[in-house]
Symmetry: C2
Subunit: 530 residues, 2 copies
Amino acid sequence: MQARRKVYVEGSRPDIRVPFAEVPLTGDNPPVRLYDTSGPGSDPEVGLPALRGPWIAERGDVAPVRGAGTPLAGVDGKRPTQLAYARAGIVTPEMEFVAIRESVSPEFVRDEIAAGRAVLPLNVNHPECEPAIIGKAFLVKVNANIGTSAVTSSVAEEVEKLTWATRWGADTVMDLSTGKHIHSTREAIVRNAPVPIGTVPIYQALEKVGGDPVKLSWEVFRETVVEQAEQGVDYMTVHAGVLLPYVPLAVDRVTGIVSRGGSIMAAWCLAHHEENFLYTNFAELCEILARYDVTFSLGDGLRPGSIADANDEAQFAELRTLGELTKIAWEHDVQVMIEGPGHVPMHKIKENVDLQQEWCHEAPFYTLGPLTTDIAPAYDHITSAIGAAMIGMFGTAMLCYVTPKEHLGLPDRDDVKAGVIAYKIAAHAADLAKGHPGAQAWDDALSKARFEFRWEDQFNLALDPETARSYHDATLPAEPAKTAHFCSMCGPKFCSMKITQELKEYAARGMRGKSEEFVAGGSRVYLPLA
Amino acid sequence: MQARRKVYVEGSRPDIRVPFAEVPLTGDNPPVRLYDTSGPGSDPEVGLPALRGPWIAERGDVAPVRGAGTPLAGVDGKRPTQLAYARAGIVTPEMEFVAIRESVSPEFVRDEIAAGRAVLPLNVNHPECEPAIIGKAFLVKVNANIGTSAVTSSVAEEVEKLTWATRWGADTVMDLSTGKHIHSTREAIVRNAPVPIGTVPIYQALEKVGGDPVKLSWEVFRETVVEQAEQGVDYMTVHAGVLLPYVPLAVDRVTGIVSRGGSIMAAWCLAHHEENFLYTNFAELCEILARYDVTFSLGDGLRPGSIADANDEAQFAELRTLGELTKIAWEHDVQVMIEGPGHVPMHKIKENVDLQQEWCHEAPFYTLGPLTTDIAPAYDHITSAIGAAMIGMFGTAMLCYVTPKEHLGLPDRDDVKAGVIAYKIAAHAADLAKGHPGAQAWDDALSKARFEFRWEDQFNLALDPETARSYHDATLPAEPAKTAHFCSMCGPKFCSMKITQELKEYAARGMRGKSEEFVAGGSRVYLPLA
């Protein structure tokens, strides 16, 4: 039997077709439908089909910026953003798409966006993207970072990592490329991305000025943002909250400033002794993002880089400023999410969400981990999955993954998978803890399959079917073992699941006389060796 | 430089020598001392030296049960238990040993044991054991399960897994062997164990009656417990709380009874329609355990095996009974810990600890995970590390590890390591969240090394130095890279850590005039390529 098949649910019009991964089960067990981020599959040379092309065009509020065939942007001061539509009471096809994905009403999606509690990062120049909503009322999302660096990796590798990450469930992907080929790497990624793509434009701006933060300027940054917006980047990290007066607050930390963008802006502020140009030009930046419907991801340039620095004055001073900037962005109909830490011990996690929600007016929170201890480099997908699950439970809308290579090297294909899997676990655990409707159906289907020794169903329902199957086969490789009513932990003579099944059967006939029946039946509480 | 060296801290007498793993650091950074479970190292053919031999003998309350050279037991109704000593106001060498390990006073250790809030599982027949204390006021401990099964594995392999598990930080090890050679496997394990060893005697009792739970009896069980107590088992899981009236409560669950011991006792109760013989003979069992100072680990035979079954009536009915049994054990001077779940979604974890602490009179809680979702077989070390860290934060004293093979197969050497590492992370994250004095020093030392680009110090301080080093080398293999002031994520031209270090230097000279200095200094916020 095929492990999974892609099925589509059609919306109110035939071009709204929402993908799910359906897992067929054996016997009369109904199939299970899972949220599916893998996209329709693409030929990297061609790119993906423009799913949203007609939806964008029919709204009539964008036009090519430099004539036919050039990128789109809002015309005549129009702000073609999902926030503007939601505020106008419009349910877009994009909103309906995510409503079907999340099993909620389109109106609920619209209202959450209108309130700023959710974002739908969808650049008008990224028609290939399947809409995904990020907000605390929805399924917790996972972002995977990829990108070339000065030291290693190629464009083809990064596109391959994109496809690989979405195959395992990444809901968005950030292209953090530095070094050469930033533009062409990004082009390849966006054209092949069925998920929203995020970037940190200051990285490319820095390349343009030869790598010297002091030479950065608002003009170079603006040009870079326009370039990336025209390519179709769906959300951008902007470190506009790293203000000059906050920089000294980070000086006595154990790990100072660990955000690349944050340290670049801090260096610029200090060198010029001027206020951060992203902050002083923020309103103009909003107008640019509004033209393409680029969503802000307001960066936490002063996030803690160690347990010692968590929840300190520097971090929270910046967070307050991000709250101010959120209101300004909303005045310009620009969608906003807020980035969060980083490294935080468990008992300080909830405060992060509570303050972010209060100060940033319930804009979606998007956190990196957090890592709950610093002692385990090479296992930071685990140290941080703990924190990610908890911060998700408390209301964080999207979790940026951490791979086993964090702090040590660049993630390869295996690391990307390990990071995405750890974070899908964290996100799903958070969905369960939040009581998200329908989330537990997956757990229940898998547990029922396990209890009934439907091994193939158990594998196929697993987050990673291949690995689950291979671990089983490592101990009991024979094909008959996959239909056996026992497993390798207890062996055939001694199986608690089997014992309980028999207990259930007896109980089903009523508790009276059950012991007599049990003994009369030969007290067969285990199966003989097959 | 040697990555780690074993050092000893001497107590009030020369034979109290407490091991630590000391990590020497470069420059004038003081070395860091870590809790060390690896033991003195043993030749499996010889076994470990009898560290506690003199301490046990000098108390004069035990004697060989069948003449010289046979196992020890309490004489003349004496109860040679750490609980009895603590209640009598005595600080034993074992208590002093753990006081040094945990950086607390011996009197504090004694008082926590006397109150039943902590246990020191130390069979008089396991003199090789280095004392380790389990209680919520102390460092959170980790247990690793090993053991042969009917399907696979050998005695030598299991001793190797024991050594391997303690090398990575397992504080106790449970031998869950089934199938043949249970006795000899256990003998080899105990003689080579520098940590407390736990067992589930019902497994061996079942072997003795040919694998048929219905044929079990109090007599067979008692004989098995005595056999294991004489070998030196430090704590035993006893499923005395699976009462006949509770069995029907598990019938409508998604996964029924998943505890092996629980299902065996449930099968026995139903077949005989009699109350659990472990419950009806509990007082006599206490007297047996008291003679050897075997600690009870009161098993949760009705623990939930899936998210759907968490915190249900069956689970909590049994937990109340475990509370009753705790009081009875304490009347007999027997130490007690209480086992807990299993599979629990995050929002239901705290209730488990709160009820356990209330109903079981603050006896130490010892939980399996819990797994926070069922969807990720092959990654249950991660699904459960999330739950383990949280339940540890809430006051659980010991965490039983889960390996990647859980539900799928028997753990091999790599799985044991993966499980122990994931759980050391969870335990340490919990120690940080509980504000355990000194716990954060490890994190701070590692983060400081990271910030100062002391790569070798960072590797050596890591929970798993070899893997951290190999991940770094995978991207930047050259030896000079290990002293480089940059890493592969950003490359040499673009390093946030380096930028902050320079900012710190400027800030240290006062904020006035800093921008002028910065620019005058050439604005060198990054290093050129070496």
